[in-house]
Amino acid sequence: MSKKLLKGNEAIGEAAIKANCRYYFGYPITPQNEIPEFFAKEFPRVGGVFIQAESEIAAINMVYGAAAAGARVMTSSSSPGISLKMEGISYIAAAELPCVIANIMRGGPGLGGIQPAQSDYFQATKGGGHGDYRMIVFSPASVQELYNLTKKAFYLADYYRIPVMILGDGFLGQMMESVEMDGQNDTCEPIPKPWAITGCRGREKQYINTLYLVPEELAELNDRLQEKYRQIKNSEQAYEEYYMEDADFVLVSFGIAARICKEAVDLARDKGIRAGLIRPITLWPFPEKAFADLTRAKNILNVEMNAGQMVEDVKLAVSCKIPVHFYGCTGGLLPSSKEIVNRIEMLGGTPK
């Protein structure tokens, strides 16, 4: 049987092994501890290297080193730990190194809580670390998708030489669902890395650097990065549409909140309301293409497990031509589908 009942966090590990990742560096933090524990147990069986680092800072810099040496490598953490990794992520982006970073989000700010949240959207998509850089950010909504997107993340990281973040949450990381492990479109083949630092045998010496004291040279790096980001924006936007064919009331939501919204769409449809859902799968690049042709939509309700972050990108994507409303929960609380339907009705989503 190719189906396995997996925790979200374990699915990340299974996918990494499938994608030929053999290096993991991390530091424990709830609710993602199953990820380092998975690698500690499984890597010795496949010749991989697991290190429990002394801190998230050390872990991300081990990732930097292993990526510079040409390896497929990943780390994972949860919100406060991801903040600590931000310095390293900025360096990795500047050095154009490929790696995968999983953030199994918990509520913040500060130490926050350990219950699920989506409050790191800004951090993931708008920078987080210093400088003009971007990461590809995937937002899976099921354990199967965690598996598929993690595999894809390794490939895209190598292809574009860019850090890729899997942005999950405590709920998704902890829940178990069945996962189809075979029969996926495998995009795991290795990509040659002539730029890697491996010792200069048989070639000129090479250098990986993030310091440019001459402004024109730093501008050149930034121009190159921005060109790469434009290319990714054109090619990698991903989203799911649910009942969008005739929707005049559009929900927009990502990750686990989007699944609650799906139920809300079903409930609203039962009441005769033409509701639909757009679920961004890439948060960066934000799937603007999904909003390009919303001629029927009269209202948009954005649902997030935070105080309103992606809603800004939705407003930009529709150029404020359609009213965009927001419903959010913070602190680790989950939105309820019934409450979402109430909001739809309050905002004028009426049966046809």
């Binding site: 189906k3 009942l5 709830t30 609710p31 350990i114 219950q115 405590g170 709920f171 902890q174 829940m175 178990m176 669902e177 069945s178 686990i256 699944r259 609650i260 799906k262 139920e263 809300a264 079903d266 989950l334 309820s336 589908s337």
Partner: protein, 179 residues
């Protein structure tokens, strides 16, 4: 069955998460969509542990379980916490060896089963959860005993395989002692 939402709740160490896992695994074996969600973190340290299990014949949209149709409890706090959530006409399974308070609602199908006492009769207090699981599948038919047994065979590590006959006995015992 379109979608069954269940809650299993008790103290850590009572096999609460394991029963939920077995249900989800058996559900998967039957070709259904399943979802298992544990309580986690500090809640687990000495407090109650619970899990939510959903088995559905179509994709599970929202995995949130706020109105379960089946609740199984192994201690007083669990009964107090989840009794109000059960849908009217839903099933409430109580390990009456450990729960000494009465449910307040009269619109539920209540199964009071002294599972820990039965487990001791079978010679191992740890199978109380499996006895209650037997009662649950007898009453709800949410999965078959064959698939629970198959799930056990697949899940139990080699060194615990010797526990299979006892678990099977406990399942059968629970099924035939449903009240």
């Amino acid at each position: 069955m379109e979608r069954s939402d269940m809650v299993i709740s008790g103290f850590g160490g009572q096999g609460v998460l394991f029963v939920g896992f077995l249900l989800a695994y058996a559900g998967m074996l039957e070709g259904n969509y399943v979802c298992w969600i544990p309580s986690y973190g500090v809640e687990m340290r000495g407090g109650t542990a619970h899990c939510f299990v959903t088995i559905a014949n179509k994709e599970v949209s929202s995995p949130i379980v706020d109105r379960p149709s089946v609740v199984m409890v192994f201690n007083n706090p669990s009964l107090e916490k989840f009794e109000t959530a059960v849908t009217p006409g839903g099933h409430l399974f109580i390990n009456s060896s450990l729960v000494d308070i009465e449910p307040k609602r009269s619109d539920l199908i209540v199964h009071r089963i002294p599972a820990s006492d039965y487990a001791n009769e079978l010679g191992n207090s740890k199978v109380a959860n499996i006895i209650l699981l037997g009662a649950l599948i007898q009453a709800t038919e949410v999965v078959s005993i064959d698939n629970i047994y198959l799930a056990l065979q697949e899940i139990l590590p080699e060194k615990k395989k010797k526990m299979l006959p006892l678990n099977y006995e406990a399942l059968k015992f629970g099924m035939s002692n449903l009240v």
